[in-house]
Amino acid sequence: MAQEVSEKQMKITARGVDVFYGEAQAIKQVDVDIEDHAVTAFIGPSGCGKSTFLRCLNRMNDTIDICRVTGDIRLDGNDIYDPNIDPVQLRAQVGMVFQKPNPFPKSIYDNVAYGPRIHGLTASKSELDGLVEWALTRAGLWNEVKDRLDKPGTGLSGGQQQRLCIARAIAVQPTVILMDEPCSALDPIATATIEELIDELRTKFSIVIVTHSMQQAARVSQKTAFFHLGDLVEFGDTNDIFTSPRDERTQNYITGRIG
């Protein structure tokens, strides 16, 4: 199969993933491949399981007691649910940006430096300064905040806070960034800024984005996965999904008939 051949370039491969919340099954037998240096979008109506699946990729679901994940998810070929894998180290490699901007109640600098500090990524203060500047620059925030790095991150606007959260995530030097509806709490201008940023970050990271907005998926992603009621209905190139969907449910969703 073609899939077997291309497996080498895949950053993350998921096979037969089931997720249960107690007795209820949230995800049914999902197979997905996440390409390196590309943006993969998960779309689908509310409650379809796209966020749940995203949270499997860095084992954030571990923090929920009743959540159980089965199946095989590999990052660079290594099973991330292997008992020898430490979820803490996994999350340093697979960063995450959340729906609602959640800067820590610390200064802008300390927000970005938080991850590098706990992982011991830098040897000196000047190296840390450099890393913070790099991360803020990559997140397109440096020019706006360079004069007030010691001010609280919670004092920024919503869009700035979300870019701060992105800077915070990339400062840990992950290889994958998961974004859970990163623009749903933002106005259209802040959204456009973040979307440009996502497109730019693609050169260095693999990005997986969950979004409610089909236009956003069409604008930023190269691959799109459509989830419906816990099933992965269709997965393919974004262009194909939006121009010639093979499944009727995908067709209905992108034309606005379900959702």
Partner: protein, 461 residues
Amino acid sequence: MLGLSNLMPIIILGLSCAFFVMARSKATAVSNGIPSSLHSRPNYHGTLSFLWVLLLGIATYLILLIFGSWFVTGSLLSQIKAANPSLADIQAQLVLSDAKAISEGRAASSVDDLRETIAGDYSSLSNLHNWSMVLIPLALSILGGLFQFTRITTEWRARNKSERIISSFLFVCAAIAVLTTIGIVLSLIFETMNFFSNIGWRVDKYIFGTEWSPLAGVHSGTMDPDRVGAIPLFVGTMLITLIAMIVAVPIGLMAAIYLSDFASAHVRAWAKPMLEILAGIPTVVYGFFAAITLAPAIRGWGEAIGLSVASESALAAGVVMGIMIIPFISSLSDDVINAVPQSLRDGSYGLGATKAETIRQVVLPAALPGIVSAVLLGVSRAVGETMIVVMAAGQGANLTVNPLEAVTTVTVQIVMLITGDTEAETAAGPAFTLGFTLFCVTLLLNIVALRIVRKYREAYD
């Protein structure tokens, strides 16, 4: 007759209920079976009549009760004075009470013509008073009720009227609470001023003096400014508070962290109520636990390693007080730690932080203002706590910072002053002054704590 006038409040209440029912049924009747034609629901018409009857009746009853007896006594006293101008006030009072005794058929201290006359006047006047207390409120409340009854029409705005009366009543209740507080504070201030004027305004001697024995010179009628130094009490209070906080803050805080971030829902469901039961134990129980169990045990341990420990020690009182304050701190801290949004924890976990790093570097700093205010409220509890220190800390004003010795606190000295043998008026001065000091300190702590909490709330809502 006396019996009937005492029953008046109940009679008026019954009358109000009767008018409620009457007004409600009249309102139903005028609606002609179309309830929506009424401006106010029948129950509001009933309520308005009920309130009018009740308030008119009770108010006139109370006015007559207070001013009536004042008028009866006053007029009889002036009659006694007129008959015998040489009598002093106190003697006139005696004549009056004898006259009351005669008219009620009890034994009087002596019987003479004046007393007999006054007795006769008294019985007729008090009879009149009693009748007026029955008839006037009854008449007024019935008139008021009928007045309201005639006003019931479909347009009559009974709801607005009755709601206005109820809201004024609620205002009066709130005003009572506020006025009481103001009254207590004013009496504290006046008694404190009084005390300071007794020691010749040597406020500095009170605040900085080191010898506390305020009642030493009272038999000579003066207070010695050199013996009202409250420093030993302040130091004792601070020492015990410090020991209590050393016990309560770490244990309470760590219990809160366990409960909010580590305990399973099941453990939390029973552990939190259990901790709060600790807060429900009366402090007097903690007090004798400290005095009877812990203090001798500490003395025993101390002696075993060669230390001399007083049988009433600051350590015993402080440790037990700390245990008392644990639930206070843990419960408040648990609330503020829980109030830290889950999204912050997720953000930290998402960066690959461990649970310990997340709690230490994200959750606790976010909850810090709330924790600080919990600690400050705990301190104000400790400063004001009385029973434990009365029983376990000692009574002598002893200036020391050695936790193994007996010390005394501000609250203990207030108890000693008020319950001691010295007459209340003399002892009240220093006691009120100490109370006022305590009030200022706890007020300050509470204000600071509440400010911090408010600032914190602004950040997260």
